[in-house]
Amino acid sequence: MSSPQEQHIATYREEAGELLAELETSLLELEDNPQDNDLINRVFRAMHTIKGSGAMFGFDDIARFTHEVETVFDQVRNGKMQVTRTLLDLTLQARDQITSMLEASAGGPPSDEANGQRIIAGLQQLLPQAAPRSAVTETAVAASADNSTNRTYRIRFKPLPEVMLGGTNPINLLNELRDLGSCEVIAHLDAIPTLDQLIPEHCFFYWDIILTTSRGIEAIKDVFIFVEDDCDLKIDLIDDSSAPTSDDNYKKLGDILVERGDLSPVEMQKILSMQKRFGEILVEQGLVPASKVQAALLEQQQVKQVRQERTATAPAAAEAALSIRVPAERLDHLVNLVGELVTVQAHLTQIAGNRHDNEISAVAEEVERLISELRDTTLNMRMLPIGSTFSKFKRLVRDLSAELGKEIDLETTGAETELDKTVIEKLNDPLVHLIRNSIDHGVEMPDIRRAAGKPAKGVVHLAAEHSGDSVLVTIRDDGAGLDKERIRAKAIERGLITATTELTDKEIFNLIFAPGFSTAQKVTSVSGRGVGMDVVKKAIEALRGTIDIASQQGKGSVITLRIPLTLAIIETLLVRIDKSYFVLPLTMVEECIELTRADVQAAHGRHLAHVRGELTPYINLRSEFEITANQPDIEQIVILSVNGKRIGFVVDDVVGEHQTVIKTLGKLYRDVRGISGATILGDGTVALILDPGLLVQSVAMTEQEQFG
């Protein structure tokens, strides 16, 4: 199957062949009847068609050649030339030349160009005077020179009343102008006659248009190209970017009207001496119709606006092309919608899975792929580099260290690491706390440092890096490190642990997150009021993040915050107890194992399971949530890593991974411990999002109360 273009060309060859045959017959007949106008017209038309169609289908040489012959016959047709023997000879030769050019294009022997030029030269000698040679390559819709700068034009378009009789719809022209740029149109009605004089087929409207466009004046003229003879058209440039941009104010209303010729300067002066609003007075006095005043006001407004915009965007012009500013709430709305979409998609996937229909499954998979891409892109839009926060801390470190008489440098890495905007905002206070702690408790005074063989100047290192679906923010100092014995002593003093409690280093470090714990010997303005680390921990947990401390005495400490990239959608493990569904954060899940009745009995009522020889405590969510019906024989334990400990959560069934769109719970449930939110599953069921850390805490508290 050949392409449409090739088909057109084939048709053209066929048609040209027929026309050439007709041309030959007509020319021969013309020899006998040189005065026959019909014949002359036929010859002209044949050549005209060969030329016109030839140019359209790429036969430019034929079009050029035929044009010359046609020009001569145009003279004959207009009676300016007589049909002579020489003319007919040359024209017949020209006809043969066209035939050979046509054959050459179809793969035949090349045509004799010199012969063609000889024929044309011969024909041109016959012309009464050198006829104007016109090019045949004009196009009606000229492409306009594209300027990047906005200019504002005032256009008055007053079509002749008969304009619609020529098939022109002025509305289309106005719409075309609107496509060019920011456009205000005012219709003037003052030319409309009374009903008895009104001719329905005539157009009595005329318009003032204020157009701000980056396209040149040629583009505007192109809009009116077909009607330029049928209308009164005035296009004035009233603002361009070279105009002084500092001056937002545009000409006064009166000046505009005078400039347009709608009002004389004398009249303007007279009116100006009165004290009312200029436009109102003009209308009242009947000097200028209301629509014209309105048009002028609009012009004033639009130019002002354009100039204001230009001033506002001038410094950011280069940046504007690369980015768009969007209000945060719109982005939030988008994230919400994507969240809904994820939910609907889960439903679709579920239905497709139940149908066992390959076609639906294929569509569902495609939708899933697209939505996950859409989700990532959307969430990405909310991402900001954490660097802006980092730079604030430089100042903090400088001021604080000076106050405390310490020498401390803040080093940062990974400032370009991106995090959800809300997360960055909420991360600010905890980071301030942690850095203050490092400066106050961590880094020692210069003389102590020197005595310990360390450089007098301490370093606090703040770093951010990506790690899977989280960002790790670390605050590292080269200070004294945590004093395990002091923490321990303090914890015993505060009644957090008993004197005999055996703790690992990690557990000891975690004690500093206990409420009311502070080991600072003296309370400084910086820290030491005992409201430090527990607040930090809560704030980080509110972001569904974790906090971790590592420390080596004398060498310094590292605090690592693991923050999820986004707050809106998380990866979870979906589990089921009887008919209720719950989700657990997938990042915390370590493994899933079975729990049989026999295992439970073997443990003699203690909530402990043997996992590869290791005793793992578990929480029975069934009893925790008081679900009593349909307990299966074999339950599942999902083992999570909670604060560095492995703790099991017993459920009936593990359904699988689930993309969870987080919905916050209502006011009433806000303080329920252990549940951080809810999500809607594919089939519309609500599943609660569990907060393992808080669940463990509340279970531990009840146990303590019971066994005290």
Partner: protein
């Protein structure tokens, strides 16, 4: 509903090209082989637009335009003339006969569509 456009041209290749281009852009097309054929068809069929050649046997483009404007059914439709002449005289003649606009041959399909969109709105 797709707009219906008539192309009147004695050149089959031009008709074919115009027709193909318009159909590709979603318009319906009715063809006429010369001015007389076009005028007869337009007497009974309402179209949204006419694209006509100027040089045609039997009845030329100018005659066709005058005929359409004098009729009733398609009196107000936009009429675009195809012309090889870029001279103003031909354009003016067509305009005074009632043509809405013109396209100078040779033209590219995009140019044709641009003009059609311009006059059809």
């Amino acid at each position: 509903m797709a707009k219906l456009i008539m192309t009147a041209d004695d050149s089959a290749s031009v008709r074919q090209m115009v027709s193909f281009t318009l159909k590709q852009s979603g318009y319906d097309v009715v063809e006429a082989v010369d001015g007389k054929d076009a005028l007869t068809k337009l007497g009974t069929q309402k179209v949204d637009m006419l694209i006509t050649d100027l040089n045609m046997p039997n009845l030329d483009g100018i005659g066709l335009i005058k005929g359409v404007r004098a009729g009733s059914l398609n009196k107000f439709i936009p009429i675009v003339m195809l012309t090889t002449e870029s001279q103003d005289s031909r354009k003016a003649e067509g305009k005074s006969a009632g043509a809405t606009g013109w396209i100078v041959k040779p033209f590219k399909p995009e140019q044709l569509i641009a003009v059609v969109k311009k006059v059809l709105g």
